[in-house]
């Protein structure tokens, strides 16, 4: 009898450890094996292929690399709006996102959209949020909606297409992603000419 009781704490400890073990592995098991999407407010990291320029025939670049490089080439974005209220809400959304509060970010973005419902940058931000939430189809639709408000605004179109490409990669559609990356690169080129 006594022996059994003596074992109890040990057993409990073992159970506890096992529980912790489960907790540790759980998140990595649920997070999709998709490469995390870079928050686009920063300039994307210098693309993979940026070897010394002098080198002889540059290796064939992937559409993704080209798209990312040409968007990076455009430099930092202009402010998304001229309305201070919208910018304040956007800042709020970014800091909520950074703090892991996606619902808060979403609420702020919606408030901004109510003020400027035809601002393509805001719809792009919403698309980015959905992408981060793993809602790929919604992300693509919202990026398309952003494009629909971005007639003649090639910079935001380029980023919309890049987002569509990223979402397609997450969906496992690499061919579709390449098409979208090419669109993104093309729009970025047009934006450069503006």
């Amino acid at each position: 009898m006594k022996n059994i009781y003596a074992w109890l704490p040990i057993a409990a400890l073992a159970l506890l450890l096992a529980g912790c073990e489960g907790m540790k592995t759980q998140p990595s098991a649920t997070t999709p094996p998709v490469p995390p999407v870079s928050p686009e407010q920063q300039v994307p990291p210098p693309a993979v292929e940026q070897p010394p320029e002098a080198q002889t025939p540059p290796p064939p670049q992937t559409p993704q690399a080209v798209a990312e490089a040409s968007i990076a080439d455009l430099g930092p974005r202009q402010p998304a709006s001229e309305n201070r209220a919208v910018l304040a809400l956007l800042d709020g959304a970014h800091s909520a996102s950074a703090a892991g509060k996606r619902e808060g970010a979403e609420a702020s973005l919606e408030r901004a959209l109510r003020i400027e419902p035809r601002n393509p940058w805001l719809w792009l931000e919403m698309a980015q949020l959905r992408l981060a939430q793993g809602q790929y189809a919604q992300a693509i639709t919202l990026a398309r909606k952003s494009i629909s408000f971005a007639a003649g605004k090639h910079r935001v179109q380029a980023e919309d297409w890049k987002l569509i490409a990223d979402a397609r990669i997450a969906q496992g559609d690499s061919a579709g992603a390449d098409l979208a990356f090419r669109q993104a690169a093309e729009r970025a080129q047009q934006a450069k000419g503006e």
């Binding site: 201070r84 209220a85 808060g104 109510r114 419902p117 639709t141 007639a151």
Partner: protein
Amino acid sequence: MTSVESPSPVPAPAPSPAPKKPRFKFKLKMPGKWVRVTALLLLLGLSGYVYYLDVTIREAFEGRKFALPARVYGRALEVYAGLRLTREQFVEELRSLGYHENPEPKEAATYHFTANGVEFTTRDFVFSDGPQASQHVRMEFADGKVSLLQAHGATDVDMALLRMEPPLIGGIYPGHNEDRELVRLAEVPKPLIDTLIATEDRKFYSHMGVDPRGIARALFRTLSGQRIEGGSTLTQQLVKNFFLTSERTLTRKGTEVLMALLLEMHYSKDEILETYLNEVFLGQDAGRAIHGFGLASYYYFDRPLDRLEPQEIAMLVGLVKGPTVYDPRKHPQEGLKRRNVVLQEMAGQNVITQAQAVAALARPLGVVERAPAGTSPYPAFLQLVHRQLQRDYREEDLRGEGLRIFTTLDPFVQHRAEDALRLRLAEIEKARRFKANTLEGAVVVTSTQTGEIQAMVGGRDARYAGFNRALDSQRPIGSLAKPIVYLTALEDPQHYTLITPLDDTQLVYKQRGAADWKPQNYERTFHDKVQLRVALAHSYNVATARLGIELGVDRILDKLPQYGIDRKPPPYASSLLGAYGLAPVEVAQMYQTFADGGFRTPLRAIRDVVAASGKPLQRYQLNVEPVAAPGPVYVLTAAMQGVVREGTATAMTNYLPAEMNVAGKTGTTEDLRDSWFAGFTGNRVAVVWVGRDDNKPSGLTGASGAMTIWGEMMKNLPTEPVQPPQPEDVELVTVDPVSGVRYETGCKSGMALPFIKGSAPAETAPCPGGFAVVAASAVPAVSAASAVAPASSVAAAKTVESKPAVKKEEEKKNWFQRLFN
């Protein structure tokens, strides 16, 4: 809590007489046996009854203790410099939020007019994304806009954005529409409790639920034939409140006494008192019952309990005796008398000093004015909210868990919609000598890009929570169904463009399962060949029917679910012309998709649901579905603008300037039973239905009825022009408005129309009329136009044709360019 097992803790009636009659033990027909059996049965019955009472009263007590209604809020007004908002509009908002004018607006919910604006202090408020502290703000206005927004402080600081508190627009109440604001005993000021006990039940802390002397008195009065009354302890009153019946009989009194005793056995005095404070009925606000001191304090004085002054406490406690008789709003004299009686009682029991009593007696009632709001001033919208919530929450949670529900209703838009409907229906009835109040109507307004429902009017008496025509009536939509047919055509640009000639000659359509169908045009003539855009603008039935049949009836009807129409119309060709019923809110969903470039955003009435604790429970996410390609929708939009510019809805110019480029569609059903208009501006989609509840002819077309309400409403709202961004696969081409031949861009005789690239006529004809400096002309010179359009507008079109007013024409010429860029 207390154990449930003891079924009848109350002493049973006197021990049965059984032992007295042992002799009759073995005899069958002994009367004594029956006595015993009867006594036993009685005993059983009584203990069963007591047990039943015990369960009932405890259920009631436990259930009521925390039953808090759901609170429903409208949208929070967001203010920023540059917002289109006048001072009058803003003050309307402040007043609806219950702000009071005060020369020193430092206290929350007060405001003061300044030279160019208004100064005010907001309330603390907990939003779904967290608390927002009270702020002292200065605002100024210029040219119909907010010109300055500053936080008032040591130095005033510009604010980027101010979010006002959202207006409370209603509640979802437990039981008999009971509303309450829950308070804890500790939050209730001691003078109030002392006063309550002093006036209602002085022995509350010592009795065991009933006051024997009181009962004796009541019994005596009853037996002597007087009215049954009085003698109720707080505990008994609480019991009475649980089972609201006005019945006054001895049995009822008996039940009440038993239940009071049972309550006291199970619960402490403090628990009973706290529940009483939250339960007692203190007023009636139209359909809403005001329960508890917490809510009554707001209802009568617009302040929380702990900020009440002695005379206000006296008024509330005085109301316990008779909330109707002493209603300080309806019977101020009686109310004042009662208040003063209580004040004297307070002084007598040393709750307040004599000096305080003298001061308080001299004070006026101080009840805040407020229009009786009923259960909600916006019953139609609230019904929609309730219905959406029922999908996700249990009814008892909605009615009892104190949820806070943040919705999309914009009271400003709502009031304009209500006013327009009421005003225009009365005007129409008067002008046409209809019997008054025979016409009914409904309005739904949503935001174009986010699909939020900003207003819903369910009938011309918008405060009446009756049949909700915006949500529950299903009337044939008539020509409102046509855009789907035309969009389906325009999605096939190889075969259909805006200038494709359609066949508007007599049609007899044979279909299995239905009688031969011979659609007629509204004016009972045929138009031979008409351009597609003209057929939509003038709502030609026969041309549309032929087009739809050509495209395939099933193909078109099968598209409806994509537009959010789950109802299945009958599979007949007549459905092409809208021979099926839809609710206005469903039509709004369909037109929202047209208005938003082919993206469908499921209409939303709710943004967030937050638990009573402040914890966010649920966000209703903004979702978007691609339904139709932007190119064809853009072209369709141009055609729907034609409806207003040159078609059945030209009278819209009586309400909105042509530059708004409103797109829409009229709908008129057989024998003029239903009058519809559905359309959109750059920022709003709205649908209006007018007809009669008895489904008799209303005598109105879409243009003479619903459209005028639509226009009247939009006229009074901040409106943006329809300016869809031009999709990449669309080009503007100048064509002859009648023959459809292509001219060089800028040819005066032509009009610019959108085409999906590659679908415009390839060959260019020489321009007959010379070139304008600006591109296209938009003068509608289509012969068939005269048939339906009201005479005045046709005349207007003709005068433009004969070009005397050059300047005006120039302006008109521009619109297409302005529109699409």
